[in-house]
Amino acid sequence: MAQPRSNAFNNIIAQFDEPWKRYAAFAVIVALLLIAPISLGPYATVILTNALLYVVLALGLNVVVGYAGLLDLGYAAFFAVGAYTVGILTHTFGLDFWLTLPFAVGAAMIAGVIIGTPTLRLRSDYLAIVTLGFGEIVRFSARNMEITGGASGISGIQQPWLFGWHINTPFEFYYVFVVLAIIAVIVSVRLQHSRLGRAWLYVRHDEDAAEAMGIDTVRVKLAAYVIGAIFGSISGAFFAVNLGAISPESFSFQQSVLILMAVILGGMGKIPGVILGAFIVVLAPELLRDLGEYRLLLFAVGLLLIMLFRPSGIWPVRGK
């Protein structure tokens, strides 16, 4: 692994290697997230909700890319599966939102197995194109089929009720996404330190050795796909009820790339890094908004500079 160059910043992030500091920082961040909407107003709340959505998505993709070391260029497909499952079941069949969540998870697992099974024997660069292909197949299918509402998608998706509370305003959705993001972080941490997490580590570093040690590499990789798919699908489910309308455009190749960028920009495999990456890909273009058409150019140049100066991401896993 290349040595990151800027030492002052490394010293700051190294501080958080101590567990108590990490927990303290986590608590402070959660506290800040809880009070943010009150002090920042509705527009910032919507943007932060979007950032939290990307946190969940990026943590999910991180399981596939960061933990298991598998390149996925079609992650938006799982995001779409969740969104459309909920959209179709609530809007067309009138099911309650919470009842559709198990279906969204089930559909994502099936999609994960369908995509994973034929592809996991492929080399990583071939995996890139196959996942890209699957992502596009899902998007084109959503665009062409009637049940998914064609190119217009599904609109008028009802906002959910929870024990008599109608989750409806942007503020309420913001807190829903705060909870989702916290759950995603906890699950990610637990996964990393589980048996499966260690198996991923072996597979990532040396697949042949892992195989020799008795790890069923195909099953382990498939598990990464399926878990990543569930993260994506649940994000999609809440995305659908939050926006109230979904269409194929939201699940394009560019969407997959943006999520992948969040993972790698921040530092793949490292949870704080991935979270940071997600915030950057959402907030940076928004903060640059007043620059009009120079906005995306500056974002792109910034991205390039970050990669050149911190090739392993802003907050990478520490080299061994």
């Binding site: 961040i29 920042l40 926006l243 915030f279 928004e286």
Partner: protein, 365 residues
């Protein structure tokens, strides 16, 4: 801590963007960047021209108007951000909306915030059921366009029609509606194709169309890919009528299609140069912006004047009162009289038939 820094930066940015004047603010929702930026800028310029006229005449309810732009980038997710930004900026009303797909998810946001929304461009029929009641469409909807198109195809004696869309909300909606009504009238659609945006090479579709040999071809999507398709159809020797929908009414169609666009038929909302009452508008717009107004400028200009008139009639900035005033509106715009149906859509069809002539649009009839 990086996160706090980011949050703090956001907070500062918010504070800077927040209300600083006691003026009345109008939101403009338009794609001012991205692939549809030409249309978006055009709409924003037209609204701002209307605002400067209103201000020069003493403002609305004695207050001066100012505008805030929400750039939707023709993308649903970005549109949600842009609409939230406008809703947070204390605007009394919003004018704009060009891409239907991007406009749909903003309806709920403006509805929840009780902000009157005059939609000046977007006209997919999918907008109608998604409207919470505070949005008013002053461009004729896809249904009116379909009626106009079928009337035209009948007038030239066409029996079979190839329909090509671009796989997006607007053009697929228009294509589906046209197919349904065309077949219901006893005609045939021997080819129904999708030309993916940005593909450049449409030769396979051209061959599929030529092998079906329809009397006419109807392109329901935007001008850029439409220009390429027209060029390739004519190069391959297709002789029948070629018609395009209102997404292709840009004069840039002629730059892309070249001489192949001669004689092409366009169904369009009224373009400034063919509107008898728009002479002053064209002159003022050109003086202010250095270029003549594009196809969606007159409607955006009308939309702003309509909103100002409604606020004046309501006598306050109370959203319910403005909504009521809009519902009862009977406003003589430069693009024609504006009154609304119970569904808040324009009560008449404003479509005209254009024909490519000498590298630009002229009136067909």
């Amino acid at each position: 801590m990086k996160l706090t820094t980011l949050l703090a930066t956001t907070a500062i940015a918010m504070a800077l963007a927040g209300p600083a004047y006691a003026e009345m603010k109008i939101g403009i929702l338009a794609p001012t960047t991205g692939s549809e930026a030409t249309y978006g800028q055009d709409m924003a310029n037209a609204v701002n021209l209307a605002i400067s006229e209103i201000n020069a005449a003493g403002g609305v309810l004695g207050e001066q108007l100012s505008s805030v732009i929400g750039d939707d980038g023709c993308d649903p997710q970005q549109a949600v951000n842009a609409a939230s930004k406008l809703a947070s900026s204390d605007v009394v009303g919003v004018v704009g909306g060009y891409c239907s797909g991007a406009t749909v998810p903003t309806l709920k946001i403006f509805g929840d915030a009780s902000i009157p929304f005059v939609i000046t461009g977007a006209n997919s029929t999918k907008l109608i059921p998604a409207n919470p009641g505070n949005a008013f469409m002053i461009n004729s909807t896809g249904n009116d366009q379909v009626a106009k198109a079928i009337e035209y195809f009948n007038s030239v004696g066409a029996k079979s029609l190839a329909i090509v869309n671009q796989g997006d909300a607007y053009s697929q909606d228009l294509a589906d509606l046209t197919k349904k009504d065309w077949e219901a009238a006893g005609n045939t659609v021997p080819a129904f194709e999708v030309a993916n945006k940005g593909e450049q090479d449409y030769s396979a579709i051209v061959t599929a169309i030529r092998s079906a040999n329809p009397d006419a071809v109807f392109w329901t999507a935007y001008y850029a890919d439409g220009g390429l398709l027209i060029r390739q159809l004519r190069q391959a020797g297709y002789q029948g009528t070629i018609a395009v929908g209102d997404g292709s009414n840009s004069p840039e169609l002629f730059g892309i299609a070249g001489s192949a666009a001669e004689g092409v038929i366009g169904f369009s909302n009224p373009i400034a140069e063919f509107l008898p009452g728009a002479k002053d508008f064209i002159a003022d717009y050109t003086a202010a912006n250095g270029s003549p107004p594009g196809p969606y400028a007159p409607l955006a200009y009308d939309g702003m004047h309509l909103l100002a008139t409604a606020i004046e009639a309501a006598g306050s900035t109370d959203p319910a009162a403005i909504n009521a005033a809009l519902m009862d509106a009977d406003y003589p715009g430069i693009a024609g009289q504006i009154t609304f149906t119970p569904e808040n859509t324009l009560a008449r069809s404003n479509f005209v038939v254009l024909k490519g002539n000498g590298g630009k649009w002229g009136l067909a009839q």
